[in-house]
């Protein structure tokens, strides 16, 4: 039933988008306005967002005993205490004393799934992101659920611990660091307002107004690939496009970049899962 509903939603969305793209190819702004209309329709009925199915799935996964240790993730501390989900995402990334490092929601969930549930870390890190047409993996669904439970709150990570400050500095340096055969940095595409690649508008992440508007939409449902894409997956995709190797989920590099984005989006409202092209 879920699958039927999901593919139905996807089909309706895809045709709606295909139609608007076809008719309005010459104007990227029109596409954005169409998307905006769609997003506002979604707000009036959040359950029309196919990403909500993964929020649902994530909740079940969070609460169900699993893994070699056969325990649920309710013992997982996302920063506010074991099992406390509400508002936890809004304060991530943060420093966790038990691992002595800074983690975003996905890095933390990975750690909990390995440490508490006994899952094989390497297995979780092998092909951790879905290919087009496949649903987001369990870890991503749980991350989407956790993020959803901060909806309506503002990004409020403090970056006050020395290791948090260091992570932010690392993220900023990486954001502007050019490398690879194309000489790209994150800032090559995200360093100015009002730019686009082909027809896709690009957010200027160093401008807080834009960062606040965009970062709070992730994890997001992507119409073109019919699945929820997490922030770790999004960054992995950027590295792919930059002609760089596969960045590991939960690595310092990805957590640092997410820290930089979240810092720019400070005070912005969380409203997930967002809806993307």
């Amino acid at each position: 039933m879920k699958n039927v509903r999901q593919s139905l939603c996807a089909a309706i969305l895809a045709s709606a988008f295909a139609g608007s793209v076809y008719a309005q190819q010459s104007d990227g702004g029109t596409i954005e306005r169409a998307l905006e209309t769609y997003r506002s329709m979604m707000k009036s009925d959040p359950w029309s967002n196919p990403g909500m199915l993964d929020v649902d799935r994530g909740e079940t996964l969070w609460k169900t005993a699993a893994g070699p240790n056969n325990v649920s993730l309710e013992g997982c501390d996302l920063g506010l205490g074991p099992g406390k989900v509400d508002g936890a995402f809004a304060e991530l990334p943060r420093y966790f004393a038990d691992v002595d490092r800074v983690m975003d929601v996905e890095a933390r969930l990975l750690w909990c799934m390995v440490k508490l549930q006994g899952f094989d870390r390497l297995k979780l890190l092998t092909r951790p992101h879905p290919s087009a047409g496949m649903p987001v993996r369990d870890l991503g669904a749980i991350a989407t659920y956790v993020a959803y439970r901060s909806n309506g709150r503002s990004f409020a990570a403090t970056f006050s611990h020395p290791k948090e400050k260091e992570m932010l500095a690392l993220g900023e340096a990486l954001f502007f660091r050019r490398s690879g055969p194309m000489d790209f940095a994150c800032s090559t595409c995200h360093g100015d307002s009002g730019k686009r690649i082909r027809l896709q508008p690009l957010p200027f992440f160093s401008k807080p107004e834009e960062a606040r508007r965009i970062v709070g939409e992730w994890p997001a449902y992507r119409v073109s690939t019919t699945h929820v894409m997490t922030m770790q997956h999004r960054i992995y995709d950027c590295f792919w496009q930059m002609r760089l190797p596969e960045v590991e989920l939960g690595s310092e590099v990805s957590v640092a970049l997410i820290s930089y984005l979240v810092k720019q989006a400070e005070g912005g409202e969380i409203n997930v899962p967002g809806m993307k092209r």
Binding site: Q25, S26, K165, E166, L168, A169, L170, E172, A173, L174, F176, R177, R178, S179, G180, P181, M182, D183, F184, A185, S187, T188, C189, G191, D192, G194, K195, R196, I197, R198, L199, Q200, L202, S206, W240, Q241, R243, L244, P245, E246, V247, E248, S251, E252, V253, S254, A256, Y260, K263, Q264
Partner: protein
């Protein structure tokens, strides 16, 4: 009237302001720390792939100055990058615009899903530039190149300049966001000539009304 000193002061203040808006209470970080984090984040990458993170002098300067290097560095970059440009032995810089259009459309190549390679690399020009009027799906990171050759009266010096900008954009615009297609081996000399043809041939749709 504004004195020279005053102007200099205002300029410096502006630079400081821009600098501080970038910094946003974020500390600087050690290069070695960045390298270590990078090595750890790509545990499955071969040495060959990891070498893609190694920045040459130009990229290092562009990263350090956030693509706005001081005048002296700008001159150094331009000179160094100009020296890497290779020209066709027969001096002919204009290839086939039809092939150029295909190369401009294609974003294929060098991504980790592009191996083993099944076709030639693309230039993906349309990702950032408008070129022909027929193609409406174009990006805006770079300037529009519609009528590029026509505006320049298809002149020889401008043809050479176009070739050089594609081969190595930093030779003309140090710290340009555009890839150094020739120097970095993304495109072959023949492919670059084809893109030059797309920009500079009177028959090319870039220049046709």
């Amino acid at each position: 009237m504004m004195g020279k000193r005053r102007i200099r002061f205002v300029l410096l203040a502006c630079i400081a302001l821009v600098g501080s808006s970038w910094a946003q209470e974020i500390d600087a970080i050690d290069e070695a720390r960045i390298d270590a984090a990078t090595r750890a984040a790509f545990p499955r990458a071969s040495a060959d792939w990891l070498s893609r993170f190694k920045a040459d002098q130009t990229l290092e300067a562009c990263s350090r100055y956030r693509d706005a290097p001081p005048a002296e560095t700008t001159r150094t970059i331009a000179a160094q990058e100009s020296a890497t440009i290779q020209y066709p032995p027969d001096g002919k810089l204009i290839g086939d615009w039809k092939r150029g259009e295909q190369i401009a459309q294609s974003g294929y190549g060098l991504r980790f899903t592009d191996y083993p390679s099944t076709r030639e690399n693309g230039g993906n020009c349309y990702a950032c530039h408008q070129l022909t009027k027929e193609e409406v799906s174009y990006g805006t990171i770079g300037p529009s190149l519609v009528d590029y050759g026509k505006i320049r009266r298809f002149s020889e010096p401008d043809t050479k300049a176009a070739y050089e900008k594609i081969y190595n954009s930093h030779a003309t615009f140090p710290c340009s966001p555009m890839p150094r297609f020739g120097t970095n081996g993304v495109l072959t000399m023949e492919q670059i000539k084809d893109i030059v043809a797309l920009m500079m041939s009177p028959e090319s749709p870039v220049n046709r009304p």
